[in-house]
Symmetry: C2
Subunit: 406 residues, 2 copies
């Protein structure tokens, strides 16, 4: 049976006429190699930012339904232009909006979730030998309104389509060559990883690796979609994300990658009353403000009944939204709030951790040798994360990469 | 019963944030005055031109289906932004794409015709007290593809919606104050007309008056939709187009307006074989190339059987499309083709002509007194058009306006 490939091109890969034509050529080459091809495109270059600026020129708080109607136009433009380029190369291409492609979402405007993919129209077009271009980042809600999936949502569109049409692989083309053992801008000798498991990729996306949107990795894991992250500017293979071709446990290094995030803020609440449900109420307040809490630490009170200390991190850009509801709650319960915006987070990630002991000890002693103070620690079976001072992040990443991966 | 009004705003009326907010205020004022309001918006300022330029940067001959997908985004952006502005003014507004508004067209991409308007979603929204904004210029084809209605198609969208929802009036807001007795840029003392009949407006739109798209006037006449053409920058009444409030024949001047067009090219075919069906075959060739022929003149052959001469005019921008199929046909039948791109057309139009004799004689003698040579003449019961040298057009318009309307 003819293999089916979903290819996704990000905004930088279609930013100008030359790049867009190059993407068209790659799509045609894939077709000529005997594949059925669906390509998902993002909006060109800075289009989405420009549209957001137009909206804020009109309204201080743009209506979310209308924001989606506005922003969804960028990807449609990319797809229409790319279809023109492909038609000029002698292949038939049709562009489809998210709605036409059958991407059905819930009604959460600006951050909708995909509920269903009704890909009949894509299947018919593929059967008619057409190349299908789908506008990323968008769908149609159950109320028949245009929705968008949030920043980076085109990755999710690509993975969801790959799952729906049973594609053999979902290729994500970006301006980086794949997934690296650390950010090459910080660690010049970081290596491109040939294979990463879904679990590892999830932890990496959640802890600062920007190459794939977290939600798209979750979707890929749930539906078993193999992702191939690769460069739009070269033919070299990139990184395959999936559970198929993993090396055996024996061959695995203790860790696969070091990631970091410099977009963190730490909030500490002092003297939180030592009563059941307090943590839950605080987390609920933050969730209602749409703030994602990352790491949470709570200490037992030193003197019973004296109140506990609780610390957590949030994306720095969400700090203001977090403090609004928190301040009122803190006043009510005589809690003191401290914030620190000069923090960052480093993480070591790897399936190898499951079978190799002593990784945590080596992380802490490596940071200690660099005289880097660890403010908070969080772990999962395949990840150790530490919150540290923002200006120590580059040294921490380099020393951990040197200790584990060089 | 609550009156229903369709308001249409052109591209200049929503070009920047300030104008778009002013349009939003006018829409809200109309709602506050006790009307149910549907507003149709065009793309902002030069958006459509910019998108066309992007397309031609990618492809020398952009695929029409994809051109429609691309261009339809401009009006969606206008509507989303205007809905944001109206929501900020404390009214509920929702924007709809042409497809969501139920505009069903044929499959002639870039110049689709409206087949049906399924306005249920608009009616439901109006019943829920919302202001409905509809992206002009576009629809969805019977093959479920996005289509556009051709330049100025937003007028047609507005009229078609007005007909479908039984609106009391379709207000077309533009950057001019209404329909004038001549182009005020050419004739400074041209008068704004209070009322124009459908027939007159049809002739005027067909002969160069840019204020309303021809097709929208045809649609309005067929469905009895009263159009009110007015300025988006003033509250003064503009021009009502309709058959209701016409003055009696006695009160009518011989002509209502002088129009002109400088976008003409003349094609002359020499020695067309004097055989039945030749004119039909030539017209069919041009129709298949989607070229609109305007005036046609054919002379009897001087010597029987010697072949006739045939001249016609086409929009200058269509000349290249016309010559393609014509050249092959001409070679085959030994026909010689001459073209002249330096021609223009002036027309005098008025219902008064039906009852007043001598109008044609006065037109020709007025042009003769200005030493303007008439190359072609075409007439209808309420119109006389003359093709003349392009550089004589302003003088011709001024002298005719002075002779009939000053």
């Amino acid at each position: 049976m003819t293999p089916t490939v979903v290819m996704k091109f990000g905004g930088t890969s279609v930013a100008d006429a030359e790049r867009l034509k190059r993407a068209a050529q790659r799509i045609v080459a894939k077709r000529d190699a005997g594949n059925r091809v669906v390509a998902v495109l993002s909006a060109r270059g800075k289009t989405t930012d420009a549209l957001i600026a137009e909206a804020f020129e009109i309204s201080p708080q743009p209506d979310p339904r209308e924001m989606d109607m506005l922003l969804s136009t960028g990807e449609r433009q990319s797809c229409a232009l790319c279809a023109m380029a492909i038609n000029d190369l002698g292949h038939r291409a049709i562009s489809l909006t998210g709605s036409q492609a059958g991407i059905v979402t819930d009604t959460s405007h600006t951050k909708a979730r995909i509920l269903d993919v009704r890909a009949e129209r894509i299947r018919v077009a593929l059967d008619e030998d057409a190349i299908v271009l789908v506008a990323g980042f968008q769908g149609v809600s159950t109320a028949k309104d245009v929705t968008t999936l949030g920043r980076g949502g085109s990755d999710t569109t690509a993975v969801a389509l790959a799952a729906a049409i049973g594609a053999d692989v979902c290729e994500i083309y970006t301006d980086v060559a794949g997934v690296f053992s650390a950010d090459p801008r910080v660690v010049p000798d970081a290596r491109k990883l040939a294979v990463v498991s879904f679990e590892e990729m999830l932890e990496m996306s959640a802890s600062g690796a920007g190459v794939l949107q977290l939600r798209s990795v979750e979707y890929a894991r749930t539906h078993g979609v193999r992702i191939h992250c690769r460069s739009s500017f070269s033919d070299a293979p990139g990184t395959v994300v999936g559970d198929g071709a993993q090396p055996g446990a024996a061959a695995r290094p203790a860790i696969t990658a070091v990631t970091h995030s410099t977009d963190e803020a730490r909030v500490t609440l002092e003297h939180v009353p030592d009563a059941p449900g307090m943590a839950g109420r605080i987390a609920t307040l933050l969730a209602e403000a749409n703030v994602n809490i990352d790491m949470i630490i709570q200490n037992e009170p030193v003197v019973p009944g004296a109140g506990a200390d609780m610390s957590f991190t949030v994306p720095r850009s969400d700090l203001r939204d977090a403090l609004g509801p928190l301040s009122a709650f803190a006043r009510e319960h005589a809690i003191q709030i401290h914030t620190d915006e000069s923090v960052g987070k480093i993480s070591v990630i790897g399936e190898g951790m499951k079978t190799q002991a002593g990784v945590a000890a080596q992380v802490f002693s490596t940071l200690g040798a660099e005289r880097i103070n660890i403010q908070m620690i969080a772990t999962s079976p395949i990840k150790i994360s530490c919150v540290i001072a923002l200006d120590s992040v580059p040294d921490a990443v380099r020393s951990l990469h040197a200790a584990f991966l060089s």
